[in-house]
Amino acid sequence: MKGSASITRRLVVTVLILELLSAVALIGAITVHEWTVQLQLFDGSLVANAESLMGAVQDTEDESDNVMLDMRGVRVAKDAVFRVEDERGKVLGSVGEPPHLETSASAAPLFRNTTVRGRDYRFLVLNGTRIVDPGTANGGVRHSITIVYGTPSRHVWHEVLEAVRFFAIATAFLLGITAVVMAWLVRKGLSPVHELARQAERIGPGEWHFHAPMSAKDTAELRPLAAALEAALARLQRSFEQQKRFTSDAAHELKTDVAIIKSSLQLLSMRKRTLEEYGQGLALSLEDITRLESTVEKMLTLARLEQPAESYYATAASQSCSLRDVIEDAVHQSKPLAELKCIEVVVEINADVRLPIDSRDALLLCSNILLNALQHSPDGATVRIAENADESITRLTVRDQGEGISDEDRDHVFEPFYRGDQSRSRKSGGTGLGLSICKAICERAGGSIEIASNAVGGALVTVTLPVKTGDSGSTLSASLKAE
């Protein structure tokens, strides 16, 4: 499993990392906030303590207009250090050894952080005024009192850390729970994938049926995959079955031909015969072998034409033939059969075009279609070959006056070994490969072939082929230049 990417793991880790980052940010924010709040509280208590000290500054009992610190009733925090001075620098009272901090004249309280005997302290410098005997005529004596009051600030840090620790622990706990729940949820959410995989696992050479499970079809993300799988398998199955049928048909065909040859020879060797009988028997056997040969040849032709045509278009540039020549050759080739059946073959060619097909393939195509038309025509009928070309395609039609073609046959007539009769009677001649070969030639050249019943009776074969534009293209450009 090492090195393989797991969606579950990736999702969980991603979410956890995001959660962790937000938790860290949150904790940072909380720290700042807590610090501010705690510091305000702390400062508040400093001010309160300092104010109460200020309140403890009293007139002296004697006649002088001096002030003194009366600590009765004043509560001072533990560890607190302070010093109360008047304007002349006279220390009215102190606890511990507060540092000498620069003082400002303003009445606003001034906070200072410093260290006293290795401990962090926060000091407040508070300026206040005390008026002795305010009731007298001169308005009394004003005393400026400066109070420096500090307590250890560790307490603030402690509070902040406590809060942060609480949030950190809570976050860790929540992260743990989220991780478990997430893993479970994601795994559950991915169960359609597993189900799809299980279903797909059943596919084998003998079992092509594939129905994507409903759970996969109901999942928006999996629907395209399930549909694609189903479609691909259906296509594969079709092609596999076609191949299987072709193999079985080909085997049947070859076995029959071999059976004929074998029986011919065995019949000949059943007993001693006259020289004449041997001669006849051998001639018949030779005929049988010729038929086998032609069947094999057609199968090989079909196999060759159905090969993937990767290099076809590369070689197509060098291949070309004249449609007129090819049709003339085909008509010439089929002349014996046409004459035997007294069929007139009418050829109407408007313009000669060049096809990007090997001339032998083109001849095979034309003569197969023509032979098919002749075979299905009654004696004395007419077969018409017509050709219409425009700039890029040419349309060749062959029309006979035979029995036409049924809709059912039309769908299958280009399948190998299809003979229009389920039982594959070989009486009509041919192996049932002719039209398949035609189709293969047309498709290889990027064209198409169709067969339909003619309205006036008989069948109409239409071949559409691309026209080779190599030479005509050059003349076209030449004429453009001339303009």
Binding site: S248, A251, H252, K255, T256, V258, A259, I260, I261, K262, S263, S264, Q266, L267, M270, R271, L284, D288, D421, Q422, S423, R424, S425, R426, K427
Partner: protein
């Protein structure tokens, strides 16, 4: 014996017919399933050789229709399909044997003969009635150890009769089973052949074997305790 061949492949049919005729069987040929079914259901054949893929009507249907009509003619199927399923289906549908193409002509003949024998209740190729011995493989006839020289037709008549001991065989039945449609036949031909056969079987010191029952037919007599 008369055999029906139902086979659409013309050349193969020609060869099988020729081979069967050379071994002394009368053969009719049907080129498609419809004709084959029609002929087979006449019930005059001693064996039927049936191709599976036929135009008109498939071999399997011909076979099923034949069996539905309670005709028990032995049927040998010729098939180019070799899957186990189709063989099992065929045998279950009432076929007696099958051969897959391409087959050996000699094997086909041997199997047809075996089918005919078994259908007549005989399991060896050598048949004997009283002191008469007929070898269906070598097509020889001996009486009291003495080889008899019979014409092909005489041999065929004797072979048919010996397959049906004690039964009365009418002239019509002999005609039906010994001649195919390609042969001209008249009932008096049978009479002439029977009389020749009787004469040839008549070895010195033996009883006449073939009985004639007026207006009914012929019977091969089996002497009590001779077998």
């Amino acid at each position: 014996m008369r055999v029906l061949l139902v086979e659409d492949e013309q050349r193969l049919a020609e060869n099988i017919v020729a081979a069967l005729r050379e071994t002394g069987l009368a053969v009719d040929h049907a080129p498609d399933g419809e004709v084959g079914s029609l002929l087979a259901e006449q019930g005059v054949y001693d064996a039927i050789v049936l191709d599976l893929m036929l135009p008109g009507k498939s071999g399997l249907h011909v076979l099923q229709d034949l069996r539905r009509r309670k005709l028990h003619t032995p049927v040998l199927i010729l098939t180019a399909q070799e899957s186990k399923d189709s063989v099992v289906n065929l045998l279950n549908a009432g076929a007696d044997d099958y051969l897959s193409k391409p087959f050996d002509l000699g094997e086909l003949l041997a199997r047809i003969k075996a089918l005919i024998r078994r259908a007549k209740g005989v399991s060896t190729p050598v048949l004997a009635v009283s002191d008469l011995e007929l070898n269906t493989v070598q097509q020889t006839v001996r009486r009291r150890g003495q080889f008899l020289d019979l014409s092909p037709t005489e041999y065929r008549i004797l072979e048919y009769l010996i397959h049906r001991p004690r039964a009365v065989v009418s002239q019509q039945e002999l005609l039906e089973h010994l001649y195919d449609f390609d042969w001209e036949h008249h009932s008096n031909v049978i009479e002439a052949h029977i009389s020749n056969l009787r004469r040839k079987l008549n070895v010195a010191g033996s009883e006449p074997l073939i009985e004639t029952l007026r207006h009914r037919g012929y019977r091969l007599r089996e002497e009590a305790g001779a077998r």
